[in-house]
Each structure stands twice: as C-alpha cells, then as structure tokens.
C-alpha cells in the first residue's frame, strides 16, 4: 500500500470502532474492548509502518509524505485538506501510537473487565464493588466492572481518532478539527462519571477553558487563511516571499507583525489546550476522570497536541521576537508556578497534573527561546514518562481500592498519598516502573530520558543567553525533583500508614504490561538525542533525533555548543531535589506534619476563586440579569409593550370620541332615523306581489330608456 494511503487510513480504525461500539456493540463488553483495542492496534501497526518508511526516506524534510483532496469550495478555488508526514510528524506519530495503544490495553484492566457487576453500581458513578460468596461461604467485596465499559472504549476510540487526525493533517484546519474532537472527548471522558457533580463541573471547566483558547486559535487560523489564502503548513512555510511579507506587515495590536499576531493567537489556543498559565486551571480538576483518561489526555496526547501545534507553527512564531518573548515568558512562568503548587498537593494524581503543567511550560519556554528540537524532544520523552506515571498512579489507586474494598471503610480516599506508604512491597512492578518514571521526570542523570531532554532545554536557554529563562527553569527543575521524590517517598517507601495500604494488591497484567513497555521507552528514548559534544557519552550514539526532527525546518537548527554550566546545573538540581525530597518526607506521617502545606500553595494561588469572581459570576450576571432580564425582557419587550399600550390607547380614543360620538350617533343614527321615516311613509308601495314590482320596474325602464334615447341619440 502506498504510504500516503496508509497515512489516510491511520485515523480511521478508532473512529470506526467508535461508531461500531455506539451503534452495535454497546451491550457487549468483550466485543467493545476487542473492537477498541483492535482498532488501536491497527492504527498502531499502520503508524509503525509509516514511521519505519519515514526513517528510510532521505531528506524527508524536503520531500515529506503528502497527499491532499479538495474539501471546501471557496469562491473560485478549493480549500484542500490532506495528510502530511514530515520528520516532526513521524516522531510525534511514534509516541502517539505507542501511548494510545498502551492506554487502550491498560483500560481493560483498569475498568475491571471480567469482574462481576456491582451491587449498587449505576451508570455515571464509579463502580462501588461487588459482593461475592466464595466456596467456603465467606463474603468478599471485590472490584466490580465499570457499568459504562463499552462507552469508555467508544470515547477513547473517538479520542484516538482526533489525535491521529491532528498528527497526520497537513493543514491547520484539520489539525483544529482533531484538536476540537479531542476537546469534546476530554469533556466526555472527564465527565465520564457524570453522576458526580465534581466530575460534571470539571468537564465543563475543561471544555470552556480550552474553548477560550480555541476561539482565539480559530481567529488565528482565519487570520492566517485570509492573509495567505491557504492553511497548508508546507505551502506557507516554504513560500519565502510570503513569510517575509508576514513578518514585515504591521498590525495595530501591540505593535506585532502579522506573523507575530497570528502566532500569538494560535499560541493562545495552545495555552488553553496545554494548560499554560493563565488557562491552566482546568487540568488539575480534570483528574476527576478515570485514570487512563488522565494518562491519555492530560499527559501523553491532548496536552502534547498543544505543544505540537506550537512546534508546527514555529517558523511563523519565530518571525516575530516579541511573540517569542511572550511565549518564553508564559512557558517559564508556568513551569515554575505549577511546580510550586505541586509541592503542596496530597492527591497523587493532582501532583502529577501540576507536574504536567510545569513540564509543558518547560517545552513552551524552550520554544520561546527558539529551542525547536529540544522542545520536540522533551515533548516526546515527557509523553512517555508522564503516561507511565499516570498509569502507575492509576495502578496504585487501583491497588488501594482493593484495600478499601477489603476493609469496607469507604471514607478513606484511595488517592490521598498520606493514606499510602510502603506500597513497594505490595506492588513491586508498579513501584519499579513508577520509580523509573519519577526519576525520568526529575531528570535523574544519564540513564533516564528526562535528563537528556531537560538538559538540552537548559543548554539551549543558557547558550542563547536567556538567563532569566534559564534560572527560572532550573528552579522549576529543582522543585520537580523535590516533589517527585516526595511523591515516591510518601507512596511507596516507609511503612503502610493505613489498614487499606496494607491490603493493597498488585494489578492484573493488562495494567502492568503497559507500565513495563512505557518504562522501557522512558529510559531508552533519551538515548536517541544525546548531544554530540557531551562529555564521555557524546558520539557513542549519533544524535539522530536532532538531525531528523531538525530537518523539518527549512533552516537547519545548529546544535548548541557544549557548556558545562547547564550540565552541572541540571545534575545539581535533579540530584539535589531528589535527595531533599527523600530527606524531608521519609518520616512525615500525616499532612499536619508537612511544613510545606502553605495555604497559598494548597489553594493554587487562589486562581480558581479569582476566576470565579472575575469571569464566571459576571458572565452569569450578564447572561441572566443584564441581557435577559434587563435588556430583552425589560427594555426591548418594554418598548414593544409600550407601543402596544399606546396603540390600545389611541384605538380606545378613536372609538370613544370619534366612532361612538361622531360616526355612530350623528352620522349613523341620523341617517338611520331619516331612512326610517322615509320607509315608514313609503311603505304602502310594497304590495308583496312580485309581478307588480316587475311591472313597475319595466315601466320605469321604458320611460327612462325612451327619455334617454330621445335626448342622447335623437338629439
């Protein structure tokens, strides 16, 4: 099969699975997950084939796989949509395919496939467990299967479709299509347990917050389209005249050039999607969704899509330094800001959520300083280890739920890290893989992928003289290592702090296999991008990633020269942070003993409250009171009713003073009286005999006719 055809086909299996499950298989759990996982597998296979073929093509950057068809007629011309796999796309496709496939597989176990139906489970709420009686007559409470199992796979399928569409599309519009489909799916999946008000609100928050960004992004797309007449990446970026014109055309906004403004608008979309400050608020709440969802959406794919979009549009952004500064600022700020919050969170998934925001800020900051390849590199490594961490945390929660069901004490939150401790013995596979993931996140030197990608960003920042960015990111990295170690310590090390933690269990193979696979990538993927001038290790493995992804750009980015400062910094912050985290938290038993539970951090710098006060409440007020009650019901309908009233008054006046008085009494009754009088006197003429009437009329006819004839004709 031609590669282009294959690329077209990549997104299709999941969406087919979606429709098949929704329409036909929604009653059959096994069939549903077979369809879902099978579709993910097919897409994975196709992606791998495409990836391998992409590797074997020389100068893929100049001659990418590309095909397009007419889609929208626009005046005299057609708007085309198509697929494109260039080096960046291929690299993205690689990690997307892997993570998606793994998450599909993981979901089977996570939703307790094969377990009995719950006693009181109902759709829309997490399963509560089922009571079974074993051979000895003992009653056990064991996890029960998710009631909306099929639906979950359907949504995941649709989501995968969106992500694949985004990756393979050759233009901003279809990218946006995939982007929004993922937005919908994230809404549906965060609100998967819609019966919980918190999940329902989180879903809406996620959708609306990202939609703020999307609206700006749509404007950016429209702007770009209006200016260039196309949305195809290649047609825009390979057209040097056009790029030059874009870079020099001034706009009235902030003194930015057209390219800068477009880039900024598109970037705001990313801010929403990748949960950057100030639109970061949705992502922690989104942890209400099932854990595979968190892994899928909030670590590996959807939030990465935001960064991917910025990487895609990098040539445009880089035309305007002002925009780049904004991007760098937001990225760096977010990285630090989110890291500070993560330190004070007790929910195992929320820590990861803030860490995700922070890491995404890293990538954005990298882009802002022009470190194109480094950003892409960190994007990919982060996707692997963060998906691993999320899945691992899901595994932990799952294990804890076992304990909760065992003890029957449902007041214990299985996600609170202070309820855990010592899980490394109960859940060894989970522990080791989580450890790998955590070290990768912290940037544990040399062995983990995270180290290489993070180091490259720091090196870039340092080498290009962005010292402020460099320092901010370094501090953020330190905090990252610190809270990562805090998490590992609280969760796995030490002794179990609760009864539930003692009865935690290792999870089934469908959950652990993805963990193992992802942990492999979390380690090895770093090796494809080792800088060539790195001491000792440089050059052992060629810096393939830099060459490959860098070739996407027309101007090949130079690898930065080696400098010991960033290397030492990253070594220092990673190891220092890890060590400090372990030291501080190895003996902490309860939240009260945690010195870092500062209210301002605990409450996320009060952003939710501020937004509620600044935007949500006023919006409600504008909608309900200002627009509806005052404007529509009050002013507009008031005017209408006033006019109606005036009309009524005029009508009544006409009736009372003209109709009744003048017309009825004077003219009407007067005439009637006259007629009555005449009729009374002329009455005897009416004999009631028809023939006499006729006789009379003929007499008149003849007389009048004769007279007329005489005067008109004869005379």
């Amino acid at each position: 099969m031609a590669t282009e055809t294959l690329i077209w086909l990549i997104p299709l299996p999941p969406v087919l699975a979606f429709f098949l499950i929704v329409l036909f298989a929604n009653k059959n759990k096994a069939l549903s997950h077979t369809l879902g996982v099978g579709a993910a597998g097919l897409s994975w296979l196709a992606s791998m084939v495409v990836f391998v073929r992409a590797l074997s093509v020389e100068h893929l950057g100049e001659h990418p796989f590309h095909a397009s068809v007419n889609w929208l007629p626009t005046g005299e011309t057609w708007f085309k949509i198509g697929v494109l796999i260039d080096p960046l796309g291929a690299a993205t496709l690689f990690f997307v395919a892997w993570t998606i496939f793994m998450i599909f597989l993981y979901s089977v176990g996570y939703h307790n496939f094969g377990q009995p139906k719950g006693d009181h489970d109902r759709p829309g709420l997490p399963p509560h467990g089922a009571t079974v009686t074993d051979a000895h007559g003992h009653k056990h409470t064991i996890p029960s299967v998710e009631p909306m199992y099929s639906r979950f796979f359907a949504f995941l399928g649709l989501f995968a479709f969106g992500m694949y569409t985004l990756v393979v599309s050759d233009n901003l519009l279809t990218l946006f299509v995939g982007w929004e489909i993922m937005g919908l799916c994230s809404y549906l999946l965060i609100g998967f347990w819609y019966g919980k008000p918190s999940a329902r609100n989180a879903a809406i928050k996620a959708f609306m917050t990202t939609r703020v960004g999307d609206v700006f992004m749509l404007l950016g797309i429209v702007f770009l389209y209006s200016v260039t007449g196309t949305l195809s990446f290649r047609e825009i970026f390979t057209n040097e005249e056009l790029m030059h014109a874009l870079g020099t055309t001034a706009t009235p906004v902030l003194g930015l050039s057209a390219a800068g403004l477009i880039g900024l608008l598109l970037f705001i979309g990313t801010v929403g999607k990748s949960a950057q400050w100030p639109l970061h608020v949705w992502l922690p709440d989104a942890m209400e969704g099932p854990t595979p969802v968190s892994a899928m959406i909030h670590a590996a794919t959807m939030v990465s899509a935001g960064v991917y979009a910025v990487i895609r549009m990098f040539p445009l952004l880089s035309l305007d330094p002002a925009t780049m500064s904004i991007v760098a600022f937001i990225g760096a700020f977010t990285a630090l800001f989110a890291a500070t919050i993560a330190v004070a969170q007790n929910d195992i998934k929320r820590v990861l959520a803030y860490s995700t925001i922070s890491q995404l800020g890293y990538m954005i900051a990298a882009l802002g300083i022009g470190a194109y390849v480094a950003a892409a590199f960190h994007l990919i490594t982060h996707a692997f280890f963060k998906a691993l961490l999320f899945l691992g945390s899901g595994s932990v929660i799952h294990g804890m739920e076992h304990g909760v069901l065992h003890t029957g004490n449902h007041h214990v939150d299985p996600q609170d890290m202070f309820n855990m401790g010592g899980l490394r013995k109960k859940m060894p596979i989970t522990f080791w893989t989580f450890l790998i993931g955590g070290f990768a996140l912290a940037g544990f030197p040399v062995v983990t992928a995270g180290f290489w990608s993070k180091d490259e960003i720091l090196a870039d920042a340092f080498a290009h003289g962005h010292l402020a960015v460099f320092i901010t990111l370094a501090v953020a990295a330190f905090l990252t290592a610190f809270y990562t170690m805090r998490q590992i310590t609280l969760t796995f090390l030490g002794e179990p702090r609760t009864e539930e933690a003692k009865h935690a269990q290792e999870t089934p193979w469908t959950m652990t296999v993805p963990l193992i696979v992802l942990s492999v990538f979390a380690v090895t993927y770093g090796w494809v991008g080792i800088p060539e001038h790195f001491p000792l290790l440089g050059g052992l493995v060629p810096n393939w990633f830099h060459e490959f992804v860098g070739s996407t750009l027309a101007e090949h980015p130079e690898a930065v020269p080696f400098s010991p400062v960033p290397l030492l910094t990253s070594l220092g912050v990673a190891l220092g942070g890890l060590l400090l985290g372990w030291l501080v938290y190895r003996n902490v038993k309860s939240p009260a003993e945690d010195k870092l539970q500062l209210p301002v951090l605990k409450n996320k710098w009060y952003f939710d409250e501020a937004y509620d006060f600044l935007f949500v409440k006023p919006a409600y007020w504008i909608a309900e009171t200002l627009v509806y009650k005052w404007m529509d019901k009050g002013v507009l309908d008031g005017i209408l009713h006033f006019i109606a009233h005036i009309t009524g008054v005029i009508g009544a006046a006409i009736r009372n003073y003209i109709d009744l008085r003048v017309i009825n009494e004077t003219i009407g009754d007067g005439t009637a009286n006259t007629v009555k009088w005449m009729g009374f006197n002329l009455r005897p003429v009416q004999t009631g005999r028809i023939q006499q009437y006729m006789l009379a009329s003929f007499v008149v006819l003849i007389v009048v006719g004769a007279v007329l004839y005489y005067f008109l004709v004869m005379a």
Binding site: L173, Y194, A203, L219, V222, I622, L636
Partner: protein, 508 residues
C-alpha cells in the same frame, strides 16, 4: 418526462396544498389515517425536490426550471418560479424538515386534521418564498406562511401561547409593512414585479418618475433598503428585533418550533440574499457596518441570553438568535465587499449555516419536545442526571448539541468557520467580538447538557408513574436523517457547498 421537467416547481409548491385538500375530506376521527396521509403526502414534495436536486445543473448560472404563469397581468405580476443554487438548498431543507416535523407531531391528538392541514399549508407558504421570482408573489407567500404558524402556536402551544402567537404575528406583520410599501414602490416604478427584470432595472435606476420632488433617488433607495432590511431582520431575527422568537419558540408545539427554527427563520436570511443584496448593492455596502453591528449584537447577546435561561426550550430558542447572527454577519461581510473571494466565502458560510442551523435547531427543538412530552416540564432545574435512564436519547442529545455548538467534524463548524473566515478581513473588529458569542455558545450548550443529562440523578424521574421512558423508534426515525446529514455535511460538505458556491459566485 417532459411534463415533470417543465412543471416540477409548481408540483413541489402546490402538492402540499393538494395533500391538505385530501386531508380535508378525510373523516376527522380517523387520526391514524390523517397522520399517515399527511406524512406520506409530505414525502411527495421531498421526493420531487430530490428529483430537482439531481436534475439541477450547478454549472449553469441563472435560474433553472423556470415557470411563468399569468397571475395579475394588469400590474405586471406573474407567478414566476425558478431555482438557483441558493433557493435549491433551502427548498431541500424545507421539504426534508416538513415530513420530519409531521412525523414528530404524531403525538398531537387534538384537532389533528386541522393541524396537519395547517402544516401542509405552511410548507407551501415557505416553499413559495424560496421559489418565487416575482416580488409580489414573494410577498404573498411571505405572509401566507404566517397564518398557519400563528394558528399552530395559538391552538397547539403551551401555557402562554396567546401572548406568544400574537407577538409573533404582530411583530412579523409590522416588520413586513415596510416591505409591502417598498415592493409596491418598485412595482409601480417599473411596471413589473419580475425579479429577473428588477435586478437589472432597480439598482441602476437614476430617476423615478413618480417620486415627490423633495426626495432624491438615493433617499428613496435608502428608505426602501431599510424597509426591506427591517422586514427580514425581524424574521431572521436580528438583535434588537429578536424578542418575539424566544416566546414563539417556547410556546409553539414541538413540530412548530422545528419548522419555525428550521425554515421560517431562513426566510429572513433568504430575503437578504435574494432581494436586499442584489437590489441595493450600494446601500448595502454603505450600511454594511450597521448590519454587522446588529449581527454581532445578535451573536453575543443571543449567546448570553441563551446562557441565562432556566427553560430548556428557551435556551435553544436563544441559540437560534446566536446562530442566525452568523448568517447575517456573513451577509454583512458580503455586502461590504461584494465580488471578492472573501465575500464569496462568507456567503458560502452564511448559506451553509442556514442549512445547518435548519438541521441542528430542528433536531434540538425536537429533542426538547421529546423530553417535554415525557416530563411536562422544561425547567432545567427539574431535570438532572437523566443520562442513565435514557442513554440513547442522551447520546442523540449530545450529538445534536455538539452540532449546534459547532464542533469540527459536524456541520456547524464548517459554516461558522467559513463565515468567520470570510468576514475577518472585511469586518475584523466585529468578527473578533463575535468570537465572544462563539465562546458562550459552548457555555450554554454545556449548561443544557449538564442540567439535563449529567449530575446526580433526580430520583423523581426514576420510578413510578413519572419514570422517564427511552426515546422511541418513531422519534429516532425523526432524528436519524438529521443526524446523518449533520455528520455528512460535517465530514464532506463539498456536495452541497459546491452547489451553493457556484450560485454565490454567479450571483454576488
């Protein structure tokens, strides 16, 4: 089949009336017979318009299937019918929605005969507007459509129906007074009402013989322009003429709302496209900013209004204001820069938005009706967590809501994108402000879903006599064509957009 070719339009136009006459002769107690007769006979114009669709040659410019019959020779008016790509899509929409609306109203059980007859008359009224190529005929059908709708709201509506129907009737009639006067003026000035001739004569007219000396020709044209605009703006409805719409929609019976939102609102937009732009290019260009302002106001305030509702149906009703605002925004853009590619794109979007809104709004109203029939309440606060009870209904509701929200991959996105794309370079500021409306579109749609489907289950509906029943097969059949079209247009809009595009390029 020469006969079919030469008389296709009048067959489409008058077959509903014929069907209504047939129903007139049916016994009034045979509800089933009446319903099925109405349904099947309303499929006749649909099939004919499919024939029309496939026989239509998009490559030709100008009107096709033209028919001209003597109607009122003395004043130069004739029954002149014809279609181009613009009206073709609207005809298709009308004939598609009518059978669905009739099927949707199978639950009506009082005065069924009158109801069905009115519905079929309504269809003729609407089709007449889309098919007319004569100003007077246009006006006649324009007004004919009002009467059945008035009775549909007034007789089969819910609690506040008298107020709503009166408001609807008076408002629309009041709006069209100016239209009538302006129509008369055009007719008197040129001795013909034939649009094809007026398009040539009127915009280029430099002097009129019968105007008072203290009025200049441009003043006359400006007044006539606003007379047209106000008539259509009321119907669209454009802010601030929109307040009849939430009342009328809310009180109308389900199928009435479907048609009202699905087709009747399009009459206004169609009027802009068919009459205002071709007849008053200069004035339209001059006042495009004002139009765009009103459109933007409709978009933003419509979205806010919708967000502020606790009545589900009213929420959907306000969403129509919001969506139709985009249509007018596209039209305003085209008015400001007629002939450019941007204008063509904006108009493509506007016309497609008309079609799409017809599908999604009709679907939304129907879904509201489905749940209203079961619960007898529209108050959003009375629902909650119904998803587990009605999973299929919930899925359909989410699907349709997403189409209304403008989710890419469904139809609404394509048209909104095109409108925004076309309007951006022409009316940048307004387009940017209208994005606020787009944002709140999401907010109110999600609010609706949140209050109805999500959240803790309201136990009131779970058991006993109030137990909510799942959407039934008939209702799914109503939704199926709408959903299929929503998806198809979202994924592959070219089949319909191509027809629209060719018409737009030829016309504007």
């Amino acid at each position: 089949m020469d006969f079919l070719n030469t008389n296709l339009l009048s067959l489409i136009l008058f077959s509903p009336v014929a069907a209504a006459l047939i129903i007139f002769f049916l016994p009034k107690d045979e509800l089933k017979l009446i319903r099925w007769t109405a349904l099947i006979s309303s499929l006749v114009p649909f099939v004919l318009s499919l024939v029309l669709w496939f026989r239509f040659d998009p490559n030709k410019t100008g009107f096709q299937f033209e028919e001209q019959y003597i109607w009122y020779k003395a004043i130069g008016s004739s029954l002149h019918l014809g279609v181009d790509g613009l009206s073709l899509t609207m005809v298709l929409l009308t004939t598609l929605l009518t059978p669905l609306a009739i099927l949707a109203s199978f639950t009506i059980s009082e005065k069924v005969k009158a109801y069905m007859m009115l519905f079929l008359f309504l269809e003729t009224g609407m089709l007449g507007v889309f098919l007319a190529l004569d100003l007077l005929i246009f006006f006649v059908f324009w007004e004919i459509g009002l009467v059945p709708m008035y009775f549909l709201i007034n007789q089969w509506g819910s609690a506040n129906r008298n107020y709503a129907s009166l408001k609807f009737m008076i408002y629309t009639m009041g709006g069209s007074l100016g239209l009538l006067l302006a129509t008369q003026m055009l007719g008197v000035a040129f001795g013909t009402y034939d649009l094809t001739r007026l398009f040539d004569l009127w915009p280029s007219a430099q002097a009129l013989t019968n105007i008072p000396p203290w009025l200049t020709i441009s003043t006359i044209k400006t007044i006539a322009f606003w007379a047209f605009v106000i008539a259509f703006a009321v119907k669209v409805p454009l802010w601030p003429f929109h307040t009849w719409l939430p009342d009328a929609h809310t009180e109308a019976p389900t199928a009435g709302s479907m048609i009202l939102a699905g087709v009747l609102l399009k009459l206004g937009a169609y009027g802009f496209l068919r009459l205002v732009l071709p007849l008053y290019p200069e004035q339209a260009k001059y006042f495009a900013g004002a139009l765009a302002f009103l459109a933007t106001a409709a978009i933003v305030f419509g979205a806010f209004g919708s967000y502020g509702q606790t009545d589900f149906k009213r929420l959907v009703a306000y969403s129509s204001v919001n969506h139709m605002g985009f249509v007018v925004l596209g039209i305003a853009a085209a008015a400001a820069a007629s002939g450019t590619t941007d204008a063509h794109i904006a108009l493509n979007g506007a016309i497609l938005q008309m079609f799409n809104h017809g599908l999604s709004a009709a679907g939304m109203f129907f879904l509201v009706g489905v749940i209203y029939e079961r619960t007898h309440t529209r108050n959003l606060n009375d629902f909650g967590g119904l998803f587990p009870l009605v999973p299929v209904y919930g899925g359909i509701l989410i699907f349709t809501s997403m189409a209304s929200l403008g989710l890419p991959g469904l139809n609404g996105f394509v048209s909104e994108f095109l409108v925004v794309r076309g309007a951006w370079p022409i009316l940048t500021t307004y387009t940017a402000i209208s994005m606020l409306g787009l944002l709140f579109t999401g907010a109110y749609i999600l609010k609706g879903i949140k209050q109805v489907l999500h959240g803790p289950l309201n136990e009131h509906w779970a058991h006993g006599e109030h137990k909510l029943t799942e959407i039934n097969t008939r209702e799914i059949i109503v939704m199926a064509p709408l959903m299929a079209l929503i998806l198809v247009i979202g994924v592959w809009p070219a089949w319909i957009l191509d027809v629209i595009n060719r018409a737009v390029v030829a016309l504007f």
